[in-house]
């Protein structure tokens, strides 16, 4: 997959940035424009960067570069109708997923516009925030927030579910104060009737 996709719309061209660095973006963009210089010259262009990999400074640099080289006006993506429609992440059945293959330690915060799978533990004091589901193949001791931007059907599943706090969409649950017994089987947390419930993961149930 290339690092950018360019699509034409009524009000200009949209450059969709997949996960890539600023350097990659700039090179790829220049290459594409060179291939059809006449077509691109003088057009209006938007950059759609959903993962927010491109900083504002880099954005300005690209803006200057495009204007001077090709006379392209770069517009900001603010107030875009399409973005608004996609406000609540809906890919909890099938959608963007990020994998982490290490222990997430205290003080680390992971956010992703999509689902998160951690192959490792999430220690106390760490925060995992996903717009979709969170799955932990290890022990979840920190704070997990699934469905961050409002999807109430998102869930949190872990091999050993011992979070200090769980959040799904706008609902918060905290662990009980008295020590409870460790569950020896994986558990799944989801929203039912506006409270977060935790169920043992029984393989047959989700078939």
């Amino acid at each position: 997959m290339s690092s950018i996709n360019i699509k034409g719309y009524r009000d200009g061209l949209k450059v969709y940035v997949n996960s890539c660095s600023y350097q990659q973006l700039r090179e790829e963009l220049a290459q594409r424009i060179m291939r059809a210089r006449d077509f691109f010259t003088g057009c209006r262009m938007y950059i759609v960067d959903e993962q927010k990999n491109i900083s504002l400074d880099c954005y300005r640099e690209i803006e200057n570069y495009l204007r001077e080289e090709f006379g392209i006006t770069l517009l900001y993506q603010k107030g875009d109708k399409e973005e608004k429609k996609e406000k609540i992440f809906s890919g909890i059945y099938e959608g963007r997923t990020k994998f982490f293959k290490n222990t997430i330690r205290s003080g680390q915060r992971i956010t992703y516009n999509g689902n998160i799978v951690v192959i490792g533990d999430i220690n106390s004091g760490a925060e995992i925030v996903a717009n979709g589901n969170i799955i932990v193949l290890g022990t979840l001791r920190g704070m997990a927030h699934a469905g961050y931007n409002g999807n109430k059907r998102a869930f949190v599943a872990a091999y050993i579910l011992q979070p200090s706090q769980l959040r799904i969409a706008d609902i918060i649950a905290r662990s009980p104060d008295e020590r409870t017994e460790k569950s020896s089987i994986p558990e799944v947390a989801r929203i039912k009737d506006d409270i977060i419930i935790i169920e043992p993961y029984l393989p047959n149930k989700y078939l």
Binding site: S106, G107, Q108, R109, S124, G125, A126, E127, S164, Q165, I172, R174, S175, D177
Partner: protein, 264 residues
Amino acid sequence: MGISIVVTSGKGGVGKTTTTANIGTALAMLGKKVVVVDADTGLRNLDLHLGLENRIVYNLIDVAEGTCRLKQALIKDKRFDNLFLLPTAQTKDKTAITPSQMQNIVETLKGEFDYVIIDCPAGIEHGFENAVAGADRAIIVTTPEVSAVRDADRIIGKIEAKGLDDHQLIINRIKYEMTKKGEMLNIEDMTDILAIKLLGIVPDDEKIVVSTNRGEPAVTDDHSKAGQAYKNIARRILGEEVPFLDLEDENTGFFGVLKKLFKR
């Protein structure tokens, strides 16, 4: 208008957070309205000492950034209705807040509470500057070790330079047996070097570890010696004259009692 007190030490691991949690709880037990503020952004621990770690939603940094109102970030203690915790963020660092923001927050808290107790991080950098910014008084915690005393001396110099002259000393983790044998700095030596008023002496107590791990400050345990010392300190903060604990009482047990009998 309440009073803000910063608990600081310079050196790490001398018991600043334990002291903050215990003094805060003790003052609340004496009927004062108290808020304890964790200024150790990125390495917060005060929530654990109070057993409130699973209740944190918003924190000091959110308040400073305007993400939430100050009231939303305050967590009510599970034992005392008049004790509150203002936690800080674990996933940010100390530069996420400025001394002037901190000062504003502490000023606002002083309007609501009788005592605002700020837990200062170790070190003399940005985190220390933040913690000290809004403080009216300072409590310096030290242990009977030369390194802790030297760091305390440095800190006293720092806060005096800021015009914070109302400062008092707590000597933590005194082992009576060792000071008697001269293996540990004794209290007179330390007050002599540091030349500030002594607020209290806290004996070394293994139970502190248990109470920290459980999230129950030692002052809530009637049998804890350290807890008793912290209760006395709280009463001294309120202006009462309380004699220092007689550390010789540590010699309980059968032989201790015998020894005492023969001494007479």
